[in-house]
């Protein structure tokens, strides 16, 4: 009896402890924070706010209106056949553009590998990293890399090449984004810390979206991207 009692006590203890440990180690499901895009649906606005009419009550002399409207541009007449040829041309140009972009991305990745200045803090330092997984390479057709540093270099190159921001002058903006890259290279944003500047947030989010999917990592990896300008 005492053995059974002892067993059940142990089992209970074990289950409780396991429960507590699972609770401790369990990671909260990644929460996606949208950087504040608000969609305004069909708001009627008094858009024809009367332009400032300055001349009426003042008119010591009758106001003059200078002709300011540009003459309408002549409409281009395109024959249907020409249009088709033009469309084909356009598609061809677009295809060329895609190819050129791919080449550029590849180049950027290579460059990044060569000159990577990434700080990497793997959780299990010194631990062996599983050998490259074959047959998992994504649409980008890149071979899987072997070290986190190398992978970080590649990711940095890709995101850097996709990151554009139109303002040269403004400085002191910072935005921190955490992404989770799955083994197939697909990514999701798990944390988004706004810079406070909407345009800057938009630019960094775009850089990440344009870079998806990333080349497949050696294993599922979390990347903290720190954008600053």
């Amino acid at each position: 009896m005492r053995t059974v009692e002892g067993m059940s006590l142990l089992l209970s203890l074990f289950l409780h402890l396991s429960f507590v440990m699972i609770l401790i180690t369990w990671q909260m499901p990644p929460k996606r924070i949208n950087p504040g895009f608000i969609t305004v649906n069909l708001i009627e606005e008094g858009s024809e706010r009367a332009p400032i009419i300055v001349n009426e009550p003042l008119s010591l002399k009758s106001p003059e209106v200078a002709p300011s409207l540009r003459p309408a541009e002549k409409e281009r007449v395109v024959k249907p056949k020409d249009r088709e040829i033009e469309r084909e041309k356009v598609i061809e140009e677009a295809l060329h553009a895609i190819e050129a972009k791919k080449r550029l991305e590849k180049l950027a990745r290579l460059k990044a590998v060569i000159s990577s200045t990434v700080t990497s803090k793997p959780l299990h330092e010194g631990r062996d990293i599983s050998p490259p997984l074959q047959g998992l390479s994504s649409q980008r057709g890149t071979t899987v890399t072997s070290s986190p540093e190398e992978y970080a270099g590649i990711v940095k190159g890709i995101i850097q090449s996709n990151w554009t921001y139109p303002e040269v002058v403004k400085k002191g903006l910072k935005s921190r984004i955490v992404i989770l890259v799955q083994r197939d290279g697909s990514l999701k944003i798990t944390e988004f810390h706004s810079s406070g500047d909407r345009l800057f947030d938009y630019s960094v989010k775009n850089a990440i979206l344009k870079s998806s999917p990333l080349p497949p990592p050696p294993e599922e990896v979390e990347i903290e991207l720190r954008f600053s300008k």
Binding site: V40, E45, S47, I52, E73, T119, L123, Y165, E220, V221
Partner: protein
């Protein structure tokens, strides 16, 4: 027995912890990115529906011009579009073109009214991010276009652009001076019914919606105020000696440059009680007072050091501090709307140029290079600067971005003293 069971369980337990720890905590890599490619956002613009072709063109051109002049946006050549204007938005039609967002305008016309449904799509998200309907008479389609452009700009930046602001300046009319007003893009130029031998120094106060200006008529200097809400004007001061409107402090208080005993000093004019109080004066010349956006300080020009330089003082006239040290001729100060910087005109190799200087610095950035450039004034959002230049032979009104880029003439006619009205 108990000990053995305990040991087995403990091993299983520890294994479990190790396994969970291993599988759940991902490696975290840190990447720092510091230098984005300085490229504007690429937009696509498509119009569909009905309306007079001229009106459609105007709508398209105004929206494109407003947004691209900010320097933040660029428009991808329409001939490259894969998606017909009437088709539904599909992100894969735009990604190959490198387009970031697409504006689709759908027009309906009933008699003299045009209704525009404007939808903005984010290509990278593949989502609709703005949808609004506007309506206006065909005659004011330009204003409507500015409003549509404003909403798109605001959606991306959360800032107010000056697309609906006006620019007022002094121009010529039948050999005399006259006040003109136009849109921020130079369109819809109109003349106000005010003409005189000389009109100088118009000054706008957005807070009280008053315009002060100075007129010379019959050998007298007249200080006039126009109330833009009632569109009535009155003379608030007249003098034989040179008197120039400086800046409007509040409804009945104006800073002016006034001459007494052949010396110009800065005075505070109370227009309600018609009293004049000297604020900054002495043996030197003190002119051109401009009040900071928070109303606490002012910048002015003084030659107390031997040459004209910009000085700053409290609004009470005390705590005077010299601001410019570069060159021997610095005039025409103008505050930035944030109050953290100012513009002024300085002489470089005998030509006047516009400089931008931060309040906490003595270094200034030269923004103009060609010809003479004077009378700078910030747009209400602080991102654009109007000024006058003689680079093309005659003095005209120009505009540029805050960093000196995108300089262009706004008028074909001669003009001076541009100020923003909003």
């Amino acid at each position: 027995m108990r000990i053995r069971v305990f040991c087995i369980l403990a091993i299983i337990f520890l294994n479990l912890i190790w396994w969970r720890g291993n599988s759940l905590s991902h490696q975290r890599i840190y990447i720092d990115l510091t230098s984005p490619n300085p490229r504007p956002l690429a937009l696509g613009l498509q119009l569909a529906g009905e309306g007079p072709p001229q009106a459609l063109n105007e709508l398209r051109e105004v929206i494109k011009n407003d947004l691209s002049y900010t320097g933040l946006f660029t428009f991808v050549d329409e001939r490259l579009y894969l998606e017909p204007a009437t088709s539904a938005f599909k992100p894969e039609n735009w990604r190959p073109l490198g387009v970031d967002a697409v504006i689709k305008l759908n027009l309906r016309q009933s008699e003299n009214r045009i209704t525009v449904l404007s939808t903005l799509y984010d290509v990278n998200e593949g989502d609709q991010i703005l949808k609004k309907e506007y309506s206006a008479e065909v005659g004011v389609l330009r204003t409507l276009a500015h409003v549509i452009a404003r909403d798109i700009y605001k959606r991306f930046t959360d800032r107010d652009p000056p697309f609906e602001a006006k620019i007022l300046f002094v121009g010529m009319h039948e050999g005399k001076r006259s006040l003109y007003i136009m849109d921020w893009d130079g369109a819809r130029l109109r003349r106000l019914g005010i003409t005189a031998e000389t009109i100088i120094s118009p000054r706008w106060s957005g807070k009280s919606r008053l315009l002060a200006y100075t007129m010379r008529q019959d050998r007298e200097w007249l200080l006039k105020i126009i109330d833009f809400d009632t569109m009535k004007q009155k003379t608030v001061f007249r003098s034989k000696g040179l008197t120039i409107a400086g800046d409007i402090l509040e409804k009945d208080l104006i800073l002016i440059t006034h001459t007494e005993m052949d010396n110009q000093d800065i005075y505070l004019l109370d227009t309600k009680n018609s009293t004049l109080k000297k604020l900054i004066g002495g043996y030197a010349i003190e002119i051109d007072p401009v009040i900071s956006p928070d109303g606490k300080r002012l910048l002015f020009v003084s030659d107390r050091s031997g040459s004209p330089q910009i000085y700053m003082a409290d609004i009470t006239g005390y705590n005077i501090k010299r601001m410019t040290f570069r060159g021997g001729y610095n005039t025409s100060p103008a505050w930035s709307p944030e109050g953290d910087a100012f513009l002024y005109v300085g002489s470089v190799n005998g030509k006047n140029q516009i400089f931008l200087q931060r309040l906490d610095s003595t270094e200034a950035i030269q923004l103009t290079m060609v010809g003479n450039n004077e009378e700078p004034s910030f747009s209400p959002d602080g991102r654009f600067i109007t000024f006058t230049s003689d680079r093309d032979g005659k003095w005209k009104i120009y505009i540029m971005r805050r960093d000196g880029s995108g300089q262009k003439a706004l008028t074909a006619v001669a003009g001076s003293s541009p100020v923003w009205i909003k």
